[in-house]
Symmetry: D2
Subunit: 215 residues, 4 copies
């Protein structure tokens, strides 16, 4: 019932699975996807630039499965076909959204960025308490990463114009589900970019021991 | 793309958070809920009886938070008010759905039955590979438990006429999301009860070393 | 290489498995144990009192296994026989070391207090960054809890005169192993009690936003 | 109390952190180490060859920390200095012990191979139930990986002539601690190599549905 500030404590931008298969047809990608990949990329470029500008950590995720298929688990029992195979063209990160030296990179085998990865280690090391999610799919990797962040006591935000779902209906349902968990979870790119700028300014001018908030 | 049998290997029935607050108005329960709690209880009673009859493990979960509120994490930042406080009347399990000596009981602090609990220890000990979920909320504890089961390589099934959501729309969206992950995840009480019966018969007549399946 | 202060940030006292089987012979307890249980209890009583006095959280753990043995995992493949069975006399917490209303209680199925429990949820909720371990066995539950605390970025301390091992040699080896991980991990009861007192005083007189340390 | 067969179900060989720093002096490596690295490498080569010959999965681990030090957690609070920095010469895997196409590779940030990695995903995917550990340090990464394997219900074995500790005393103490957890945990290279051969033969001649054991 208590809506929190947009940014509480230190934020990180998490770029989830923006890979080359995003521009491929479903038969090649193995994953269904609603339209709008080009705009997603443009929005992600702006958000990544804003985060870097404010020295906010950017963490790039890549879903990747071993060629033998040994680590697919139950992922092929449903709607998705084989996808994100290591070494295939579609699995590579999108070329304008590659980690730079000051960024972070983590590969994952499952939907949630927390499952079987060192994300929690990294977030603790960085002192991050607010995670901002962009990428896809809204109703799969974004939604389940959000749920784990929420259950792990992080303030979680999803940039609603910078995520894509498997289709429009599921996209909308998952945005609604995230807002159910944390009021104010749904944010626009413009709001987040302003927030990142404000955060950068506040940090430069403040005693770092005080918990900062950006409404 | 590969729809699996309804039951693969050994199943367990997981009864999620059927507590007395289910019959209370939202102001008292702290959690919104669609209509149908009475039918949910009746369906759950049938499913629990069928599981016990076939000697299939039944695992009862109870969401419970310490009175001080210390373990709510971010759970009060969204739609839900304070809920499932230890020692309050509404937090008790529903009186017709209590664990018997041959059943299992686990308390949890978060939505997913896997988060901060010994469920994985228990499932490994029991040799369970298929989990059948009933209870609530469809779009919160059921959905996120399903997602974790899925990511943990379990065959997961949800009894669509024996789960309740925070409202009808979210309920339907989460059932759809679970079916996205595993084709055939959505099942009716009647299908599952028949499957439990068939499993019980097959087990009595078979070499336990063979992996059993019930379509 | 960098020895930290004894208490960094907010501490908690974790009382590990001080149960009635501690006073029983190995055949009844199922677990071997070096001498000194009486002194362990006396020391634990002092430490618990000091923590409560300074309003430092005290978390009591109890190892407990279901009667059917389903959750023993591989625990009976080695030196230990069946132990800590739910409902047996030896499994109960020691009567002078029971959680009071302001304390916390967690049951566990495995050696590490972090494995299959909600300890991480509780520590995050309490804002704890330093954990102080007492109880037993030094070379099993204490050692593996310490290792997990260490890997989870907590400052970990073991009260070397308030832990008991399966024998003297293993006790000494595990204390050495903990000191290997964090210099200054090994502490005496007197040091910790002084530290708790100092922490209580500093907190009353300070701005809670500053990270406190007690050397 | 019940000593199990050496191999129960399907085994995997886990090669822990055999990196170039193993041949460097402690000041360069950042980690103390007892003598015998050359023999360790020779033994590991034999074991890896035997596992590949029997089509037993080989999983190579590499400890690696980001250059900024952000993910060291508490690892520099004790005996170890900065170590296993990404991109440094000493961090590379030993040149004769590199994963081939049929092998597996996992990087890790912490001591236990299970902490913040996808090892559990991989072991489930491979259907492995017995893990055989070689590499180092006996008293750090080997010991804590063993403890997590044990707590996760795996049969765990350590090849006592193919692991190295931070010193002789801690090496011996950790071997003893692993034997405490699972009787028969300590094995020689020759025993394991014979067991791998026997496993390969049994598998070729048997119905894969039966649980295989090699004493």
């Amino acid at each position: 019932m208590a809506k929190q500030s947009m940014i509480v404590g230190k934020p990180a931008l998490i770029v989830v699975d923006i890979q080359q298969d995003g521009a491929m047809p479903v038969e090649a990608a193995g994953i269904p996807r609603m339209d709008g990949f080009e705009q997603l990329v443009a929005g992600a470029e702006r958000l990544v630039a804003a985060a870097r500008q404010a020295t906010i950590p950017v963490i790039f995720f890549q879903e990747a499965h071993r060629r033998s298929g040994v680590d697919f688990g139950r992922e092929l029992d449903g709607t998705e076909g084989p996808h994100c195979i290591e070494g295939e063209e579609g699995t590579a990160l999108w070329p304008t959204l590659l980690p730079q030296e000051s960024d972070y990179f983590i590969a994952k085998r499952r939907y949630s960025c927390f499952f079987g990865t060192d994300l929690e280690i990294l977030l603790k090391g960085l002192g991050v308490s607010t995670v901002v999610l962009i990428g896809g799919l809204t109703d799969v990797c974004i939604h389940y990463t959000f749920a784990d962040a929420h259950q792990g006591d992080y303030y979680a935000r999803v940039v609603e114009d910078c995520v894509l779902g498997s289709n429009e209906t599921r996209h909308a349902a998952s945005l609604d589900a995230m807002e159910y968990l944390q009021a104010g979870a749904r944010r626009t790119s413009n709001e987040i970019i302003s927030g990142f700028e404000e955060f950068g300014i506040k940090r430069s001018s403040s005693d770092s021991k005080n918990l900062m908030e950006v409404a």
